[in-house]
């Protein structure tokens, strides 16, 4: 519609044409576009380095995928949760625990498909409990899911005896579940795509934005804010469980030390770097994908460039915070120039 592209002047105020060229305005308008540019710049930087030949190989792209796919899958859920004004700090341990929930059903003699279905149900149950504690008892999601994370970490060790296990999944199902070289990427792209459509083109997406942006207004309009939030907690745990299964089937080992807080942090960081507001109301799922891409490029690029193992986390920590600061700065510019 034409009225969307032309911002008519508000009486009494002059439009800020100083925002400059069409490209600059387009960048400010599409909040995820800026992160795409930063990701491209990072890609160009590491491609151009002396180790660029190692960076630009199919094998290295595969390594990038291994980093970014679970972050993007969990990040898709975290994005919607952040938009709702909530967060799930237990998602990383849901990733760790769900494969062992699967093993516990399998070890009781159930077949693989049924055990998978039950494990997925357990994942969704974790989200349901998170969401109900959050909404029924009005306990902040920060505390609720922090406690759930510890609980799941302990349950993982009990269930696994702190020993890794070889997944009893083989053949076509294993290929589907991450075994095929690029299957994890397909999972990530499909989940990102479905959630972006849900955010932009369904009532659920509008309700999520309203619930996080102004819960009181949403409730006054008759939106069932708590129901929206619980559903989003369930989705996030579901995706965390799927990511845990797919990622660890790919590796060929269910590992009780995998995932955890690092996984959760990278998923949330992907969302925030991708333009999702930490305080709720706005964000995009596609932005989260590119946030994950950027983080994977940084992680992989610094590995190839030979940053010392001791300094590695220092570099990653600074890079993540710098990327978030950049995002906050760009959002502020957006708000100023898009009036």
């Amino acid at each position: 519609m034409a009225s969307d592209t032309e911002l008519r002047a508000v009486p009494g105020t002059e439009p800020r044409r100083a925002a400059g060229s069409g490209l600059a305005r387009a960048l400010l308008r599409r909040r995820e576009l800026s992160i795409v540019l930063v990701a491209i710049a990072a890609f160009a930087y590491f491609s151009a380095g002396s180790y660029g030949t190692a960076f630009n190989t199919s094998n290295n792209y595969h390594i990038l995928m291994q980093y970014l796919a679970p972050w993007a899958i969990i990040g898709a859920g975290e994005t919607l949760l952040l938009i709702c004004g909530e967060i799930d700090l237990s998602a990383g341990f849901t990733y760790t625990f769900v494969p062992f929930a699967f093993m516990s059903f399998y070890n009781q003699g159930l077949d693989v498909p049924l055990s998978l279905v039950l494990a997925i149900a357990v994942a969704m149950g974790i989200g349901l409990v998170n969401g109900l504690i959050r909404t029924v008892f009005n306990l902040s999601s920060f505390i609720t899911t922090l406690g759930m994370g510890f609980f799941l970490e302990g349950m993982t060790y009990i269930q696994s005896g702190a020993e890794p296990t070889t997944p009893p999944i083989a053949g076509g199902l294993a290929d589907f579940m991450g075994g095929w070289r690029w299957s994890e990427l397909v999972w990530a792209l499909v989940i990102i795509g479905v959630m972006q459509v849900a955010l932009s083109y369904t009532k659920y997406g509008v309700y999520a934005q309203a619930s996080g942006g102004n819960p009181l207004s949403a409730a006054e309009s008759g939106i069932k804010v708590n129901r929206v939030k619980v559903a989003t907690f369930v989705l996030t745990s579901l995706f965390a469980g799927v990511a845990g299964l797919v990622d660890q089937v790919r590796v060929g080992s269910f590992d009780p030390t995998s995932g955890g807080n690092t996984m959760m942090f990278m998923a949330v960081a992907s969302a925030v770097i991708g333009g999702t507001a930490l305080l709720g109301g706005s964000g995009t799922v596609v932005g989260t994908l590119f946030g994950a891409v950027l983080l994977a490029i940084i992680q992989n690029g610094f590995t190839l460039s030979g940053v010392s193992a001791y300094a590695f986390d220092v570099v990653i920590g600074i890079a993540v915070v710098a990327a978030m600061l950049l995002n906050v700065y760009i959002s502020r510019l957006r708000r100023r120039y898009l009036r």
């Binding site: 032309e6 207004s217 006054e220």
Partner: protein, 255 residues
């Protein structure tokens, strides 16, 4: 600054509140309050903070149940069960907080929880078009229905909230302090908007305010609520700001 239109033909009485009382524990919020409004009429409900305006609004919108008294809509007695029930009968309220979501564009706020869909998917184009039409119809000028609400001025936000309420099958529109925290120019725009709504003739407006001078011009009739009682009910043409102020000052002197 509001252009006065001719007093409209008195329409039919759409809402009547009869001998309503409401107590909260030891506090009597409303005592024997009777109030009515006709279609095409703008009723000013004036009163100090704590006079009982909020309680009265919440009873009319179905949020509170009165302890005694009755509510008539189109002459029929109705027990309002909930806000949704009152809304289904055409009683819409624009609260001071406006119930807008800053992060959403104007047209999604306009259709909040009443989105147009095709199957599971939103009809963005249709919603944009209809929101633009509806806003244009009552003469609201905003930069774009795609603009995020946070980028709009206080007057524009108020106008969108009013337009949204009117766009439903509203028959009674309650405006809770629509001019609070608004400059003179913006307040004037809102008063002109209310005036345009009156000339449509199919809507009864109850305008809640504590600043008398702002609203006297736009109201057809004025009710003064003091200590939970209606102490004054007269066409605004037959009273003045000075008279109303005198009534209220008398209250302070005897307090």
């Amino acid at each position: 600054m509001t252009e006065q239109t001719d007093p409209p033909e008195p329409g039919t009485e759409v809402l009547r509140v009869e001998r309503i009382s409401k107590r909260f524990g030891p506090v009597t919020a409303l005592r024997d309050v009777t109030l009515s409004v006709r279609t095409g009429e703008v009723l000013g409900l004036l009163g100090d903070n704590g006079a009982g305006k909020s309680t009265l609004i919440k009873i009319v919108t179905g949020f509170h149940r009165p302890d005694s008294g009755r509510i008539l809509i189109d002459g029929r007695e109705i027990a309002l069960r909930s806000v949704a029930h009152a809304r289904s009968l055409g009683i819409e309220t624009v609260y001071q907080d406006l119930a807008l979501v800053d992060e959403l564009p104007v047209y999604l706020n306009f259709f909040l929880n009443k989105e147009l869909t095709a199957g599971p998917f939103l009809r963005h184009t249709a919603m944009r078009r209809r929101a633009a039409e509806a806003l244009g119809e009552i003469g609201i000028d905003i930069p774009s229905v795609g603009a995020e609400v946070r980028t709009l001025s206080g007057g524009q936000r108020q106008a969108i909230a009013v337009a949204r309420a009117v766009n439903t099958a509203a028959r009674v529109l309650l405006l809770d302090e629509p001019l609070a925290a608004m400059g003179a120019r913006e307040g004037g725009q809102i008063l002109r908007l209310i005036d345009r709504l009156r000339t449509r003739g199919d809507l009864a407006v109850i305008l809640i305010a504590h600043n008398y001078s702002q609203v006297m011009d736009v109201c057809d009739r004025v009710n003064l609520l003091q200590h939970g009682e209606i102490t004054f009910d007269r066409p605004s043409a037959e009273t003045s700001v000075a008279e109303l102020l005198e009534l209220v000052h008398a209250e302070y002197r005897t307090a």
